[in-house]
Amino acid sequence: MHRRNFLQLAAAAPVFGSTLVENPIYRTFSNHTPQNPPGMPGRYPGTAIRVRSGKSIDSLTGKVDAPTVRAMLSKGMQALTGQDQDRDAWASFFEPSDVVGIKVNCSGAPKVMSTPEVVAGIVQNLIGVGVKAKQIWIYERFPDQLQSVHYDRLVPAGVNIYGVEQQRGSIIGYDPKTYVEVDFFGEDDTRSNLVRLVADRFTKIVNVPNMKDHGAAGVTGCLKNIAYGNFSNVARSHHHEKTNTLSFIGTLASVEPLRSRTVLNVMDGLRGIWHGGPFAKSPKFYFYPKQLVFGTDPVALDRLLIDVIEDKRKAEGAVSVWDRSMKNIQQKGGDLDPNVNRFIREPGHIAQAGRFGLGVYDLDQIRLTQLEV
């Protein structure tokens, strides 16, 4: 029998190997102890500050208005912290000795990603509280995606711009002692390791996700960006139509020191993707929420994100992110048809992360402040 046939049989068989483990057993290995309180849910659990501005980005050209973005950052951070000066607002999170990682999201780059003007604004504020440029790291797992954005054009010299996997799949940029071990479907490499800089150098992390649909996770916001964006070997969780994203995302986000060091989330919703995410394969799925959302609680921010994506999908006549019907699942064509998906989406990963203690999921308990610039 040819090996191809063995593999096909394996895919169809209901027992060992190559079939999904419904309730995977996670084992976390870390020598780091949590800070008190940990960064997530942080100082402001259940709190979200949404700042909108119609001037922030031109929906036709995609041009970003940097002064407006700076004003949005200012308003959002002051509202979150209760401070009336930017410096005081940022200083309530960061001090000059900090080494700060800015976790951007570039999987939809160069079209939809953590906007350079937003990231530059964050860098400017960090420098404003005394953090030296060389102590600031803008980072993402994949250098090709990161470099396509050209953050270097907007941030001061000395700021580090770092892609973890210099060769795709390389584990050299990850910490061998901090990892989650889990077997999803009989894969041989059962470890997902934390980015080494997070384990060894960063003292704080600012998480800058986008507002995007995600074929496997349902939506991708704070939790997905901080979890899958900081660990190796994560795509294995969506190997089959039924994925393990439901529990894997929150598990990874809970790993120390990632959890404790992620002190601030700035969700960049200037642009968004309402279908086909996390990539930006077709402009017809881009949209412009024209907002930034601030908070320390990733669950609360992501709970609000579900509604943003769901409302947009509803307006476009697309199936819900909660849809679990197998008739809408196809391995091919889903990226361009909003009623087809490759996976069963798991927006429930956000509630699951709430159950892990990472934040507040219940809308009734989330205090949302909405502001305009």
Binding site: M1, A11, F16, G17, S18
Partner: protein
């Protein structure tokens, strides 16, 4: 093939003036007239094929390795007819598994062999027995061979036996009540069953960070020699290895990287772990318990 590995460099099929080869360091030559193709085990070209569509169940690249064939054959010599950089891969594969190999290749293959030869020649010999978790009773059937192939593919270390060995963690005999013949018709599933019965914790060898590196472990309790072979054409950047056992001392030889060191070396929880920053084709790592 012998349970013990003898350091043996391959013999290159060559009908021209051998002095030209000697100048390039290759000093073992077999004139084609002296090669009896009926007496040797002919092996397919080792390597990796990225057949994503066909191997969709695993999305793992297709890997053609011959370690299991070398272990299985009763013939004294193996024979490769390989082109290009398949020649160096054949040479290290044969070396790692202690095979007396004859290699026929082309000009590019000759260049590859000439590059690999000094590295192999410099390696200190180590006649150590093959280490394994699993004993596989060989009935000679093709399906048992395919099981060997898949166990190798997943770095599930086995030894080929004529009868079960109670000293091993697990013994597998196709056709037994535990491993019926019907189950063996799907060797991939069977290999996963064997893995789950063995448990990952007991595995003598784990390799993280690559799907194209196979390991071969030999040792005697005090000393372990690990052969790591990169079957792909490009280097593997970052490879984490876990060897069961306490080995505080080590020596490393990595082809193309004379100054290579093992990174993040740790001995904890009854296992030894380390990272190899880069692996181009072949590395030999000796671990010592004292």
């Amino acid at each position: 093939m012998s349970l013990f590995l003898a350091a043996l460099l391959p013999c290159l099929v060559w009908d021209q003036d051998a002095t030209a080869l000697a100048k390039r360091g290759i000093d073992r030559v077999c004139p084609s007239a002296q090669v009896d193709l009926k007496a040797v085990e002919k092996l397919p070209a080792p390597g990796v094929q990225y057949r994503i569509n066909e191997a969709s169940a695993s999305r793992s690249p297709w890997l053609d390795g011959n370690g299991w064939r070398i272990q299985r054959t009763k013939k004294k010599q193996v024979y490769y007819d390989v082109q290009g950089d398949g020649a160096s891969l054949a040479a290290v594969e044969a070396y790692a598994y202690g095979a007396d190999a004859i290699i026929k290749s082309d000009g590019k293959g000759l260049d590859q062999l000439a590059g690999m030869w000094p590295f192999l020649k410099k390696l200190a010999p180590a006649d150590l027995p093959t280490m394994a978790n699993i004993g596989l009773v060989d009935d000679g059937a093709p399906v048992t061979g395919e099981l060997m192939n898949l166990l190798s593919r997943y770095n599930l270390l086995f030894r080929i036996l004529t009868a079960p060995d109670p000293h091993l963690d697990l013994n597998v005999k196709i056709g037994s009540r535990e491993y019926p013949k019907a189950e063996a018709l799907n060797p991939n599933l069977l290999s996963h069953k064997i893995r789950s019965q063995l448990t990952d914790e007991k595995r003598l060898l784990r390799i993280y960070g690559s799907e194209v590196v196979l390991g071969h472990l030999t040792g005697d309790g005090e000393r372990v020699r690990l052969h790591l072979i990169d079957y792909a054409k490009r280097p593997v950047e970052g490879l984490r290895v876990r060897v069961l056992g306490v080995y505080p001392r080590h020596e490393v030889a990595v082809f193309g990287a004379p100054d290579a060191k093992l990174l993040d070396y740790s001995v904890e929880g009854g296992a030894t772990e380390f990272t190899l920053a880069s692996l181009t084709r072949y590395a030999v790592i000796d671990l010592f318990s004292k």
